[in-house]
C-alpha cells in the first residue's frame, strides 16, 4: 500500500459530496471513487463511511434509493440534492481559500517579510 494520509476531520463529508457529484454511487462505490480521484492517497476506514452518509442524508444533502449495481447486486445509491450541490460549491470554495492561505503561509521565505 502506498503512503496514505489520514483525512482531516470534517473533510470526509466534503469528499463524499464531491464523489457523489460525479454521478450516483453506492457506498462501496463512494469509497472506490474517493480512492480513484485522490490517487489512493487518502485512507478512509470502510465502516466510518456510513455514519457520514447517513448524516448527509439527514441533512438533506444526499438522497438515497435502492438499485442494482454493476455487479448485479442490490445496493443503495446516493445522489446529490440541490442543497447538496450548493453545499459542495460553498465547501469547495472554502477549502480552496483555506488551502491557498495555508499554502502561501507555508511557502513564505525569510526575505519576503
Amino acid at each position: 500500500m502506498v503512503d496514505q494520509a489520514q483525512i482531516l476531520p470534517g473533510t470526509l463529508d466534503l469528499l463524499i459530496l464531491k464523489a457523489v457529484s460525479l454521478g450516483p454511487l453506492h457506498g462501496y462505490g463512494v469509497l472506490l471513487r474517493i480512492g480513484q480521484i485522490s490517487g489512493s492517497a487518502l485512507l478512509i476506514e470502510q465502516g466510518a463511511l456510513y455514519p457520514a452518509l447517513f448524516r448527509l442524508v439527514r441533512q438533506g444533502l444526499l438522497k438515497a434509493s435502492w438499485g442494482t449495481s454493476e455487479n448485479n447486486r442490490r445496493a443503495k445509491f446516493y445522489e446529490l440534492t440541490t442543497p447538496g450541490r450548493k453545499r459542495l460549491r460553498e465547501e469547495t470554495e472554502g477549502w480552496n481559500r483555506l488551502a491557498t492561505a495555508i499554502g502561501s503561509a507555508l511557502a513564505a521565505e525569510p526575505e519576503e517579510i
Binding site: H26, G27, Y28, G29, E45, Q46, G47, A48, Y50, P51, A52, L53, F54, R55, V57, R58, Q59, G60, S69, N71, R73, R74, A75, K76, P83
Partner: protein, 884 residues
C-alpha cells in the same frame, strides 16, 4: 428545510424502527459483498474474500450504532434503551433493588412529611388571600394580649395597617333546641372577615356595620367543619335562631371550608361578634382598658410599601401615646409583628420545624451515602460486565449514562414510594385531633409543591449516589479485568466507600444522639414536680352561664356542686378552681400585685405579676398540693369576710423574703384592696412544664366568683364510672348544664403535647438513622466478606483462629463504625445548642445519653455484622478452594 428533513428522519425512525435497522443491515451487507467481489476478482477464493472483506470493514455493530446516531433523535431512544436495560438489571438483583428503594423511600418520605409540615405551618400558615402581608401584633412577652379599648385606639391611630381586626376565644354552651353542648370559637371584631378578604361559603358574614355597641349583633357564623359535623351540611340553618349561653343568636353564614380561623393549630367552631362577648362571658370586656385578656390578637394587612420595621415603630408610638393618656391602666411594652397565625407559637414552632428539616436532610444525606456505597460495590461487582462492554466498543460515556439511569430509576421508585407514604401520613395528620374536646388540629394539606419537592429530592439524590462509582468506571481497564477476573485487589488504602460509610455512620450517630437527648428531656419533664398530683384526679368543667346563672346565684350553685360531688361514694376530696387548673390548655392568667405600702397603683409600680387561680377550700387537698405554712382557705372566707389568699413558695420568697415571713402579711391588688396571705403552698408548674419557678396566688373563689370553673374530684375509682356518677349528680342538680369530664392526666396531654411531638419525631428520625447505619454497615461488611472469602478460606485452612478470621473480615467495618460514631457523637454534642431549641433541657453532656449513644452504636454494629461474621466463620476452605 434542514429542520424538516431532520423531523422527517426522526419520525421515520420512530415509526419504522425495524425497517431502518433492516435497511442498514442490508446496506452494510451489500458493501461487504461488493468488496468481497473485488477481492475474489483479485484472486482470493470466495470464503477467504468474504472473511477479509468483513475484517476490513471493521466493527459492524459500532458503525451501525454510529450511523443510527447520525440519523438524529437518539437521545430519547438511548434513554428508553437505558431505562429498559436498567430495569432488567435491577430485576436481576431484587434484594439490592429492594434495599435501595426502601432506604430511599424512608429518607424521601421523611423529608416530604417534614416539608409538608413546614409548608403548612410556616410557608402558608393561614389560608387567606395575600397572607404574606398579613401580620399579627405582639406586645411584650404576651403575644397579642390586649384590652378592647387599647385595640380600638391601636386600630384608629396607627398609620401602617390598612385595617386592624381582632379576635378572642369564646367558649359557650351552644343549644340548637334541647342539646346544650360546649362549643369553642372566636369572638371577632366586625371587620374581621373584611380584613381577611374572604367570602362566605353560605349566607353572609357580619361586618363593621352590624356593630352598634355592646350586645348589638346577635349573629353567628359557623365554620365549615362545625356546620358539617353539628348541622349535617343543612343549608337551611341560615336564618335559624339558636342559643349561646341561653341568649338567642341568628346563624347568618358558613365560612369557606379551608378557612380555619387565624390561629395555627386551633380550628374554631364558630365566629361571633366580639361586641356580644359581654353577654356570653359576663365580663366587662369592652370598656375595661386594663383587662388585657379581652383581645387575643390583632391582625391586619400592612399598607403597600410599609415595612414591618416601620409598622413596629408606628405601634410603639401609639403605645407611648396610650401610656401617657392612661398611666393607670396601660403599661408600655415594646411591640413586634409576627406572621399572622403564628404569633403565639412563632419562634418555637419555627425553630422546631427548621430543626426537623435539618435532621431530615441529614437522613437523606445518610441514605445517599449508604446507596453510594452500595452502588460502588455493585459497580465493582459488575466490573467484568463493564469491561466486556468497553471491549466491545461501547463508550465510557454511554456506560456512565447507563449507570446513572439505573441510579435515577431507583431514586424515582424510592421517591414515589416515599411520597405515597408521606401523603398518606399527612392526610392522617390533617384530620387528626390530638385532644378530644379541644379545637386543636394540625393544618397540613399536601399539595402540588410536595410532589415537586419529592421529585427534585429523588432526582438529586439519584444523581448524587449515582456518580459515586464514576471514577471507578472511568479508570477501569477492560483488558486487565477481563484477564484477571473481578476479584480485584483488597487495598489497604482508604476508599471512597470507606469515607462514605464513616460519614453516614457519623450522621446516624448525630440522629441517635438527638433522639436520645429528646427522650431524656421528655422523661425529665415527666418526672418533674408539678406542684399537684394529677393521678386519680378528675376535672369537671362547667360554665354556669351556659345554663343561665348569673350574679350571686353562681357561687351558691358552685357550692352545691362541690357538696354534690362529695356525696359520690369513693370520692376523697373535692375542690373548685375558677376557669382552668394549672397546666390545662395553657390557660393561666397573670395579675398585677403591689406591695402593701404602695399607694400609686400605676403599672410601673407593680411588684409581681403572679399567676392567679381562684380556688375553693379543700382545693389543695383535692389537687394533692402540700401546704407549707399557715392554713387552708375556709368557707367562712366569703365575700363579706376580709380578703384572703394562699400564695406559693416563690411568691412568698419574692414578696416577703421567706415562707415563714409571708403568713399574715398583706399585698395589694389593682383596685387597691389589701389581701392577707393566710397560707403558703409548694411551687408548681402553671403554664408549661419547661417554665422556671413562677409566683402564683390562690385567692378564695367566693370573693371573686366566675361562672366558668373546674371541679377537681379526687378518687381512686375507675375514671369511667366516676365520670358517669359525676354527670348524673350534676344532671340531677340542673339538667340544662353542659358538663365536660376528663382526668387531669388526660388534660395534661395538652401541656405535654409539644414535648411528646418533639420526642416522637426525633425518635422516628433516630430510628431511621439507626436503620440506615445498620444497612450501611451490613452492606459494607457483607461485601467485604464475600470479596475476601477466598482469603478467609486460606486463613482457616492454614489454621487461623476465629478471632483472627473475624479481625480480617470485619476489622475494617468496626474501625469505620468506631470512627464514624465518635465523629457523630462529637457533632451531636456540638449541636446541643440546636437541640436545645427543640427539646427541654437538651444536654447531650448527660452521661446517660453519652453511654446510651455509645451502647446503641456498638449494638447496631454488632447487629449489622452478625450475619457477615457468621458467614466468614462458616467458610469451608475445601469447597471454596476447589471451586475457584
Amino acid at each position: 428545510m434542514k429542520l424538516l428533513a431532520y423531523l422527517r428522519s426522526l419520525t421515520a425512525k420512530f415509526f419504522h424502527h425495524s425497517e431502518i435497522a433492516e435497511d442498514m443491515n442490508e446496506e452494510l451487507a451489500s458493501h461487504i459483498q461488493h468488496r468481497a467481489d473485488d477481492l475474489e476478482r483479485s484472486g482470493l477464493d470466495h470464503a477467504e474474500a468474504e472473511r477479509r472483506a468483513r475484517i476490513e470493514f471493521g466493527g459492524q455493530e459500532k458503525f451501525k450504532e454510529e450511523s443510527y446516531q447520525a440519523l438524529g433523535g437518539t437521545f430519547i431512544e438511548t434513554f428508553v434503551q437505558d431505562v429498559r436495560f436498567g430495569l432488567r438489571m435491577l430485576r436481576k438483583s431484587p434484594s439490592f433493588t429492594t434495599v435501595a428503594v426502601v432506604t430511599l423511600a424512608l429518607a424521601i418520605g421523611a423529608n416530604a412529611v417534614v416539608f409538608g409540615v413546614l409548608d403548612a405551618l410556616i410557608l402558608r400558615s393561614l389560608r387567606v388571600p395575600q397572607s404574606e402581608s398579613l401580620y399579627g401584633t405582639v406586645y411584650g412577652a404576651d403575644p397579642g394580649f390586649q384590652s378592647y379599648p387599647n385595640y380600638v385606639d391601636l386600630r384608629d391611630r396607627n398609620r401602617s395597617f390598612e385595617d386592624l381586626a381582632a379576635f378572642n376565644f369564646a367558649f359557650v354552651g351552644l343549644d340548637t333546641g334541647n342539646d346544650p353542648t360546649i362549643a369553642s370559637g372566636f369572638a371577632t371584631t366586625g371587620n374581621y372577615f373584611d380584613v381577611l378578604r374572604i367570602q362566605p361559603y353560605l349566607g353572609r358574614f357580619f361586618g363593621s356595620s352590624d356593630e352598634h355597641g355592646p350586645n348589638s349583633a346577635p349573629y353567628l357564623v359557623l365554620s365549615y367543619a362545625y356546620w358539617h359535623s353539628r348541622f349535617q351540611d343543612d343549608r337551611s340553618v341560615i336564618g335559624r335562631t339558636i342559643q349561646l349561653n341561653k341568649h338567642p343568636y341568628t346563624i347568618i353564614g358558613v365560612a369557606p371550608p379551608d378557612f380555619r380561623g387565624t390561629l395555627l393549630f386551633v380550628s374554631p367552631d364558630f365566629f361571633m361578634p366580639i361586641v356580644n362577648q359581654e353577654q356570653t362571658d359576663a365580663q366587662n370586656s369592652l370598656t375595661n382598658r386594663s383587662n388585657t385578656n379581652s383581645i387575643f390578637e390583632a391582625i391586619g394587612h400592612l399598607k403597600p410599601g410599609v415595612t414591618p420595621a416601620q409598622a413596629v415603630a408606628d405601634l410603639d408610638a401609639v403605645s407611648a401615646y396610650l401610656e401617657k393618656a392612661y398611666p393607670q391602666e396601660f403599661a408600655k411594652k415594646s411591640s413586634t409583628l409576627a406572621r399572622a397565625g403564628l404569633t403565639s407559637f412563632g419562634d418555637d414552632v419555627r425553630a422546631f420545624v427548621a430543626g426537623l428539616m435539618l435532621l431530615a436532610g441529614l437522613i437523606l444525606l445518610a441514605a445517599c451515602a449508604n446507596l453510594g456505597g452500595l452502588f460502588a460495590a455493585r459497580a465493582a461487582d459488575r466490573s467484568r460486565e463493564v469491561a466486556l462492554r468497553l471491549a466491545l466498543g461501547s463508550s465510557r460515556q454511554r456506560i456512565l449514562r447507563q449507570l446513572l439511569t439505573e441510579a435515577v430509576l431507583i431514586a424515582m421508585a424510592g421517591g414515589a414510594v416515599g411520597l405515597m407514604g408521606s401523603i398518606a401520613l399527612l392526610r392522617k395528620m390533617s384530620i387528626w385531633q390530638p385532644f378530644a374536646g379541644a379545637p386543636v388540629h394540625v393544618p397540613v394539606s399536601p399539595d402540588a409543591k410536595i410532589y415537586v419537592v419529592a421529585f427534585v429530592l429523588a432526582l438529586m439524590s439519584g444523581l448524587l449516589f449515582g456518580i459515586v462509582p464514576i471514577r471507578q468506571v472511568l479508570r477501569a481497564n477492560p483488558y486487565e479485568i477481563v484477564k484477571a477476573g473481578s476479584s480485584g485487589r483488597v487495598g489497604r488504602r482508604i476508599t471512597v466507600r470507606d469515607v462514605l460509610l464513616a460519614t453516614q455512620i457519623a450522621i446516624c450517630a448525630v440522629l441517635v444522639t438527638a433522639s436520645l437527648v429528646a427522650l431524656r428531656g421528655l422523661a425529665r419533664s415527666l418526672q418533674s414536680n408539678f406542684g399537684f398530683e394529677p393521678q386519680n384526679a378528675m376535672l369537671v368543667g362547667t360554665n354556669l352561664r351556659m345554663a343561665g346563672y348569673s350574679g350571686d346565684q353562681v357561687p351558691i350553685m358552685q357550692k352545691r356542686m362541690i357538696e354534690a360531688m362529695g356525696t359520690i361514694p369513693g370520692v376523697e376530696a373535692v375542690g373548685l378552681v375558677n376557669n382552668y387548673p394549672p397546666l390545662v390548655y395553657a390557660a393561666g392568667s397573670r395579675t398585677n400585685i403591689f406591695k402593701e405600702e404602695t399607694t400609686d397603683l400605676k403599672p410601673s409600680n407593680v411588684a409581681l405579676r403572679p399567676y392567679k387561680y381562684d380556688v375553693s377550700p379543700e382545693y389543695f387537698h383535692a389537687a394533692g398540693t402540700a401546704l407549707l405554712a399557715g392554713r387552708d382557705l375556709s368557707w367562712h372566707d366569703d365575700k363579706d369576710a376580709p380578703r384572703v389568699a394562699i400564695v406559693n413558695r416563690e411568691f412568698a420568697n419574692k414578696m416577703f423574703g421567706s415562707v415563714a415571713n409571708a403568713v399574715g402579711r398583706y399585698y395589694k391588688i389593682q383596685d387597691g384592696t389589701r389581701v392577707q396571705v393566710v397560707g403558703v403552698i409548694e411551687d408548681g408548674k402553671y403554664m408549661s412544664l419547661t417554665e422556671d419557678p413562677e409566683p402564683a396566688i390562690f385567692p378564695t373563689f367566693q370573693q371573686s366568683p366566675t361562672s366558668s370553673s373546674n371541679l377537681v374530684v379526687r378518687s381512686n375509682r375507675d375514671p369511667q364510672q366516676l365520670g358517669a356518677a359525676v354527670r348524673s349528680q350534676l344532671r340531677s342538680l340542673d339538667a340544662g348544664l353542659p358538663v365536660d369530664t376528663a382526668t387531669w392526666n388526660r388534660q395534661l396531654d395538652v401541656a405535654l403535647f409539644p414535648a411528646r411531638v418533639a420526642t416522637a419525631s426525633l425518635g422516628v428520625l433516630g430510628l431511621m438513622g439507626a436503620i440506615l447505619s445498620i444497612t450501611g454497615v451490613f452492606g459494607m461488611a457483607a461485601y467485604s466478606v464475600s470479596k475476601r472469602l477466598r482469603e478467609l478460606g486460606i486463613r482457616i485452612a492454614l489454621g487461623g483462629q476465629r478471632r483472627e478470621v473475624l479481625q480480617a473480615a470485619l476489622g475494617r467495618a468496626f474501625r469505620l463504625l468506631a470512627c464514624g460514631s465518635m465523629a457523630g457523637l462529637l457533632l451531636g454534642i456540638l449541636a446541643s445548642r440546636v437541640l436545645a431549641f427543640i427539646v427541654y433541657q437538651a444536654t447531650p453532656r448527660d452521661p446517660l445519653v453519652l453511654t446510651g449513644v455509645v451502647l446503641a452504636m456498638a449494638l447496631l454494629g454488632l447487629l449489622a455484622t452478625w450475619i457477615p461474621a457468621q458467614r466468614a466463620l462458616s467458610v469451608n476452605p475445601l469447597i471454596l478452594l476447589r471451586e475457584e
